[in-house]
Subunit: 490 residues, 2 copies
């Protein structure tokens, strides 16, 4: 009876599931389609690239469909199809690199292969396959070994592969056919046709330039740093009106920079194959981007450590926080603004060092204020020192971050010279404004000049004076100040 | 006259250079050859791989050289050569992944291609190329788009490429030939022959397993961390007899871990294609390595920050250094030993948690001692706090590193269970020794239990007692202690 009930329940469940199956299937398929649509919308260049590959394939099929073309190339036309499929890369640099590698490697290996076959024919019927075998083995092994060398791997890996391929094919099939020259010629010409179609489609139909991608990536990484720093400030010194969750998503933005090195290296490598395009000349200093990217990553490492303090539950005494809050806030805010200005200068390809330097100067002054604040907040009891350790560490890492922002700014400054960035459009206004800003916001400097990094003998009353002279940097002031600067500079 | 003299000088210089040319050329060539030799010696598997590719090529050439084989395959034999060249990867996983992708993609695309040609023939002479063109365009574009999806890109990228290739070739050449089934069959069978040769050579002739490489890489990265930590200790608290230069080279070892993520991901991805081999079963938890690697990298980030302090010129007052020196030394030394024990446990695939836990326990006790030391060294003057900030930060990051070492140990502990690591061979001896060690070296613990992480109310005399109870951990003692443990555990 119980068994019966069980079976009935099972049967009912099965029927229920059977009923639900069509709607579930429909839901699943709609979800999938939506995912695919979203994926395409995220970067529409993916869809365009796919259509471009389809276009190249259709164009190259003409070698078969059009009778006169088929008469001259015959079945060799498939090498053109093969070339189109393997050479079509997402970026122009990738397509050029593969296409040129394939073309030159086929040319050299084809010539060597024909030579090897002629040489082997001197050795008689029995000797020919042996000599050819030795050639194929030794050149194949040597070319494979060469692919391990970093320099060759980086730029000519595909060329070495195609070299082995073509040489083996020409040398081995040369044993069975007498029309080896015809074969080598047909292979080379069809590869050239396929490669040319790919390169033309890649350059002239909605091109994706690796160089431009690299340029944007570096600028975006700097913006991510800025956002993380801003988010950190909001998280650690919650004075703004943002919700905690919103800020935290900003804090995490730097994470992708930690492991972006391989992408940057690849893009820089491909960019070197590209001709001048848009705002970039032929000999644009692509490798310099990697130097900036390295400094940005160093900065991200520091943010990663800082983030550990945000997430940890260690409580810092409120009175200590309130003492270091102002200089720390200013430091991170001004460093963040400096990073944003640097990113903007890269994006617009216009020099903007006055504005950037003003922000950095402000954050450096804030470091001095922080030192003073730390000095006045010397722990009274033994217990205190232990409690303020996380705060001190956090401040110390923040100082390092400001130093790295300065290094990034110097590297970008050097880079802008090499890359021929334009000067700011209205040089008359901006230096004045910059100087004004320096005087206005950095007026603490003369007082602090006596305050060397290692030792300080100034008396407390100077400190109080300094605090009086420093204008209160509230967020409203910041916004208006920044807007002023931007009006002058852009 | 002067002109004449100039010309004479130039001529003499030219002759001199001409004379030197042969010796310079010889030097240059010898240098190159030595470089290549050194490169091969650094990893002899590179030479072996090159010879393996040569071997596979020679084997596959037999399709041409041996008359009966040539009679059955004809010129299609070149597909086998092509397959050998592109499928031969350094690791077994790479070869299997490419070979299987190529095989299955050819099978599916070939079948679809034959179907498309038959379908197109219904549309009449004029309609056939148009229908075929639409098929090639749409399937080519769709397959290209699918390659952007991370999941497909990671495992089936090459398969998608070969799918486009084979489908286009079969569909397009089907327009001109009636023997399309023969062509598809020959292509598939020769690709299977080439792929099989590659896979067999890759597995049975000095195989290079991606999984084993990943396993060793993780263990080596942990050792690099340990060496860096050891080098840092020697650099920052120079008590040992090592020269500064020697230590510094050790400190930098962690650098390669910072950007090793892409290599680890690739290896883990390839390892999943490999059958069980050596000490690894078929379903070895390869993805777990990435979790450990992530924690190791986090630890390396902290070392990067720590390294900034080693390189900086900021001087910390000697009396403060001497106060934190002992606990910091013990912390880094014990953490370093724990890392070495973890690495050894991974390398030998034997569980060794007792020994690792003892080291971690010691370093955690040292953290407590450091807290006490910091408490007793509360700065007397305001000036002091500023000066000891770098020292406090350094100690704080060191504490974080010890925490990460514990996390690594936990992750490895979880991993050893999943990967069926062997228990230590003599479990009777080691737990005793471990406990003995805990009692002997960690005897401070009961006193410190009252010393919670946030607040501490114990009076100074307890602190002195603790210092008395803690045995002096000199380097000689350490060595003997470690050797003892190792004798018991291994």
């Amino acid at each position: 009876m119980e068994m019966d009930l069980n079976a009935q329940v099972k049967k009912a469940g099965f029927l229920q599931r059977l009923k639900e199956f069509p709607s579930k299937l429909k839901d699943g398929v709609t979800k999938r389609i939506k995912n695919v649509q979203k994926f395409g919308k995220d970067d529409p260049r993916r869809i365009i690239h796919s259509l471009k590959v389809g276009l190249s394939l259709t164009l190259v099929s003409m070698l078969y469909y059009v009778r006169p073309l088929y008469n001259s190339f015959g079945v060799s036309g498939m090498w053109a199809i093969l070339t189109v499929v393997v050479v079509s890369e997402f970026t122009v640099g990738g397509t050029l690199s593969k296409g040129l590698n394939r073309g030159f490697a086929t040319l050299i290996a084809g010539a060597l292969g024909v030579g090897a076959v002629h040489l082997a024919r001197f050795c008689g019927d029995k000797g020919e396959p042996i000599v050819l075998g030795i050639f194929v083995f030794s050149l194949g092994a040597a070319a494979t070994f060469s692919r391990f060398f970093p320099r060759i791997k980086q730029r000519y890996d595909y060329g070495a592969l195609i070299f082995i391929l073509t040489f083996s094919m020409v040398a081995v099939s040369g044993y069975r056919t007498d029309e080896i020259l015809v074969m080598a010629y047909q292979r080379l010409s069809t590869i050239l046709i396929g490669g040319t179609i790919c390169i033309l489609v890649s350059i002239f139909v909605f091109p994706v330039w690796a160089g431009e991608d690299l340029h944007k990536m570096i600028a975006n990484n700097i913006i991510k740093l800025a956002n993380s720093l801003e988010g950190f400030e909001g998280e650690y010194f919650p004075s703004s009106e943002k919700t905690s969750k919103e800020t935290n998503s900003c804090v995490q933005q730097y994470k992708s920079i930690l492991t972006s090195k391989s992408t940057e290296d690849t893009l820089a490598n491909l960019a070197r194959w590209e001709p001048g395009h848009g705002r970039f000349r032929l000999r644009h200093p692509w490798t310099k981007y990697l130097k900036i990217a390295g400094l940005v990553r160093q900065c991200a490492f520091h943010l990663e450590i800082l983030n550990g303090y945000v997430l940890s539950d260690v409580k810092i005494p409120q009175d200590f926080i309130s003492k270091i809050q102002e200089p720390c806030s200013i430091m991170s805010r001004e460093a963040c603004e400096a990073l944003k200005a640097i990113a903007k200068s890269i994006k617009t390809m216009k020099r903007d060092s006055v504005c950037v330097n003003a922000y950095i100067e402000n954050s450096k002054n804030a470091i001095q204020n922080l030192r003073i604040a730390l000095k006045t907040s010397s722990p009274e009891t033994e217990k205190d020192l232990l409690e303020i350790i996380p705060g001190v560490t956090m401040a110390s890492i923040l100082i390092e971050i400001v130093n790295y922002v300065e290094k990034i700014s110097e590297a970008v400054e050097e880079f802008t010279g090499l890359a021929h960035f334009k000067e700011t459009p209205d040089p008359k206004v901006s230096p004045e404004l910059g100087q004004h800003q320096l005087l206005h916001r950095g007026s603490v400097k003369p007082v602090l000049e006596g305050d060397s990094e290692e030792e300080n003998n100034s008396s407390p009353h100077v400190v109080i004076n300094v605090h009086d002279e420093q204008p209160p940097t509230t967020s409203e002031k910041k916004v208006s100040g920044v807007q002023k600067t931007r009006v002058g500079v852009v």
